[in-house]
Amino acid sequence: MTLQHFMNEAISPWMREEGPDSDIVLSTRIRLARNFAQYSFPILALDKDLQHICQFIRQEYEHQSFQDYHDFSFVPIQDLSPIERRVLVEKHLISPHLAEQNHASAVLISKNEQVSIMVNEEDHLRIQLYFPGFQLNHALKKVFELDDWLEGKIDYAFDEKRGYLTGCPTNVGTGMRASVMMHLPSLSWTQQINRMIPAINQLGLVVRGIYGEGSEATGNIFQISNQITLGKSEEDIVEDLQSVVRELIEHERKARNYIMEQSSTRLEDRIFRSYGVLAYSRIIESKEAARCLSDVRLGIDLGIIENVSRNILNELMVLTQPGFLQQYAKKTLSANERDVLRASLIRERIQLEG
């Protein structure tokens, strides 16, 4: 497995499989923050300690396999160009924070890209596991097994009273952030989502945009995750998140039916206009592309558009991001050049299918 492989394909192998409720839930992710007991956290650690941690992870886990997660690649962040770093962020394999690091840091990625373990981000280890669709319980079971396997060789910083010790007080305890990526076009159109977000926040859950903290919900994609990590068991946290997500799925389906019944021609018009923009435009900004992709995706889910696969849309969502476009072009592009390349890539994919 080479780095080039992670860079060339916009869509990760695990994304090609269809998960439960995949008309609304794109993916499920669980992240665990873990630290070595004997070192300071990355913000204060000595450079030699950070390097030592990287070396240790490389030695023990590079090219290893665990269950379905084969042949881990070890990728040092310093070896990557700014564009390559950005591509990994756009694929959610690393965080924007890790991409900015200049100290010894790395990411360990399984061949199918389902597992990515960030080394020396805010914590020594950030273990991430992805699943397609809505499968929180399964993801939790699997990430626990992965965590136990890793722990076989690492003394974790753990305290009986406070749990897993982390760099930031917001992660202490379970160190777990469980999140679900949802496509909620009908709840956004009808403005219902704005009324639901405060209620969701009250339950200790957070709603964010597609690229995490501080990002906007482009393309009607929302990420719902737990905020609280201390005092509740992982199972309870997942259960709470699960019930809210189930509720949102229910509401989104109702809203879709409602729009279909009340204004089906208007809905069809909107969806086909967006399809037209994607199929024929010569210049397209990322925001407009995201909006149109969301419309066409809804069109597919409702059976209004039949000859395009959902996978193409998943792929286009990543492929049309600035980092990926530049990786594709093999050079730095101005915003204008990106808009032209984006339009041409989208046209190609859509017509390939149509």
């Binding site: 956290f41 805010e122 753990f158 897993y164 007080p169 609280i228 201390l230 068991s233």
Partner: protein
């Protein structure tokens, strides 16, 4: 009404904080509002970190009744982070910081994690071996009580033996 921070000047401002549904109302004077960070929200880039250091500053007032001015500042022996640095940054320097600053953490965790201060989740298999056993012993002890109450003495004896066995294991590990 007097200011709830300085108890000297009259309260001029009223703030309502809602954290995970818990509402706290604060009445303060303008000076304290600025100093204690009620109004110090930056125009943009308002991040979780700002929120945290705001929380810390209002929390860290003269712990255990000593009147502020500590001559010897608390400092972590492992990473050398001081209490005031910790307050400013809002992040721990190393695992030992949790012990060093432990007197100050309950109120922070309570706010950040809606009232929770104690971990109730996964325990690592190797590092936490003893803790896993302790958890198991506690469960057996409860069972033992129940069995004794029901006068199921024979079964109680087996459970008691299991407890003894486990306790022997933990003692063995500690040496």
């Amino acid at each position: 009404m007097e200011c709830q921070e300085c108890h000297k000047r009259p309260a001029a401002l009223h703030f309502t904080q809602v954290i995970n549904g818990d509402k706290t109302e604060v009445y303060v004077c303008e000076v304290c509002a600025k100093e204690k960070g009620y109004m110090s929200y930056p125009e943009e880039g308002y991040s979780l970190h700002h929120l945290l250091s705001g929380l810390f500053n209002s929390t860290f007032e003269s712990p255990k009744g000593t009147s502020g001015q500590q001559t010897h500042e608390l400092q972590c022996p492992q990473c050398e982070m001081t209490l005031s640095e910790f307050k400013r940054v809002g992040k721990f320097g190393c695992p030992t910081c949790y012990e060093t600053f432990s007197d100050h953490l309950d109120s922070i965790f309570r706010r950040v994690h809606s009232g929770n201060m104690r971990h109730h989740g996964k325990i690592p298999a190797r590092v936490g071996g003893d803790m896993r056993i302790k958890k198991q012993v506690d469960a057996y002890k409860e069972e033992l009580q129940r069995l004794i109450q029901n006068e199921a003495f024979e079964e109680a004896a087996t459970v008691r033996d299991k407890i003894k066995e486990l306790e022997k294991q933990t003692r063995g590990d500690n040496t």
